[in-house]
Amino acid sequence: MKTVKLRIIVEVLRSLASRAYTLKYPKIASPAPQGFRGKLEYDIEKCTGCAACVENCPASALKSISDGDRRTIEVWYGKCIYCGRCEEVCPERAITLTTTYSLVTGRKEDIKSSVQLEINRCLRCGKPVATARQIDKVRLQVKDLVLPEDYDAYLSSLCLDCKKAVQAELLLAGRM
């Protein structure tokens, strides 16, 4: 009995001397460690609007909306489950999951983020083809191939149907 009481007293004194273990979180910031999967951020300079992230998002937090001349890639943080699939599949490394985790807000606009990209239209028929950056990327990739000189300027800016038609024309004319 005595030893138990003594042990309690020792424990109390030790607890009084020691600092509280809990963090004073909202008052004092508690940053997440490096490598934490937090708020998703786009590098607007790098994104080509290929929508690989949209295809692979298991929670459908990402959306791709194409209307005429603009493609918008949109992320709703409220739906995001922070799995990091988009970061993994992005071919341009344009997505990073930052260490920001506190996304509490009273305004709906704050839990949304988007990238807007220009869509090029087909030079022949005027149908939307792909974003300007995607076409630039294709041009860069086929740079070293032996192609007719006007491929760059013309053929790469056509829609799929027109491309086929033009290629057939070129073939018949003996230029390919």
């Binding site: 460690p33 922070y82 799995c83």
Partner: protein, 397 residues
Amino acid sequence: MSIDATLPIGPYHPALKEPEFFKLFLDGEKIVDVAIRLGYTHRGIEYLAERKTYNEIPILVERICGICSNVHPMCFCQAVEETWELQVPDRARYIRTIVGELERIHSHLLWAGIAAHIIGYDTLFMHFWKHREPVCELFEVLTGNRQNYAMNCIGGVRRDIDPTKHKALILETLSQIRPSLLRLKNAVTEDPVVRARIENIGVLSRDQARKLCVVGPVARASGLAIDVRKDEPYAAYREVGVDVKVLTEGDVLSKMLVRLLEALESMEIVKRALDAIPQGPIRLEPKEIVPGDGIGKVEAPRGEDIHYVRSNGTDIPERVKIRAPSYMNVPSIAPQIKGASLADASLIIAAVDPCFCCTERIALADVKTNRESSVDFESLAQRWRRKSKYSRKDGCV
């Protein structure tokens, strides 16, 4: 034997996370019988999984349970790997082992804390959770999140463990919590009040355990030496080895001890795996989707978890079947709870560890007067805690 009252506990949690329904038939304070009903937490995960691609399912099944969030994706990936005959890289197998064992430590500490909370010993609860916290913080660094680690993918793991930085951090964390855990284990076994509340309560005999096919720590506390890690080694358990802890009493005390001993053993496994981890790739890109079927088996902190996958060659599986360990363990509550006093009911239900959660209300019905009343969780918890107080007054301390 007369039944003078029935006490429905649940469905929004009796004492545990999953909403289950327990109808207790009482004779005074004594529990005469119990009716268990499951199915309140049905979310249609299997149905959903049959409509998602193989890449999305690990992330979906990860959310079956917040505590075992490495077990389910690992089990699913193993089932798919068996179907597609994929040979997972060695390094990935070791990383799966390390994450799985760290998860076991945090899960068992969480459970021990909850058990301490139910018997009204909140100091012990705080201490258990205090030492669980470094493990969760370790997960933040290793995997990027405290829970829902998103570590597993078909063919390996998604993140590597840094051989210098992460290894040092893991070893430091483990060496920091190990002495505290040993001290807490002694607190459980030596404190007379705690002992009085959990010893010889909720006894599940070896025969009953075998008949009810219980799995995991519940079976091992009753003297059944079953452990998937030992019986059918997966990941890197064949190489690192497992010392299966078995106790024979089958009461709540031995269920607690078996979990604490397992947490300590997990630390040893993590250390051995970190020493033996080979270099190499962590992920294998699957080449083709092979039709066929496969089974994944993983020893979750709560017992054996099984996933079955049938592939028809498309990128969406034809059938996904999941059997979580708690499903096997919950029926074992019935023989344990019969004859116990009402104040021990919550502890016995909790001892099986079918996940803990926040219950709000419990309905009381008196059969004699046909009167129904509703009490909130706290006032019933008061009753459980009062029993601890009585034990203290009875001269245990």
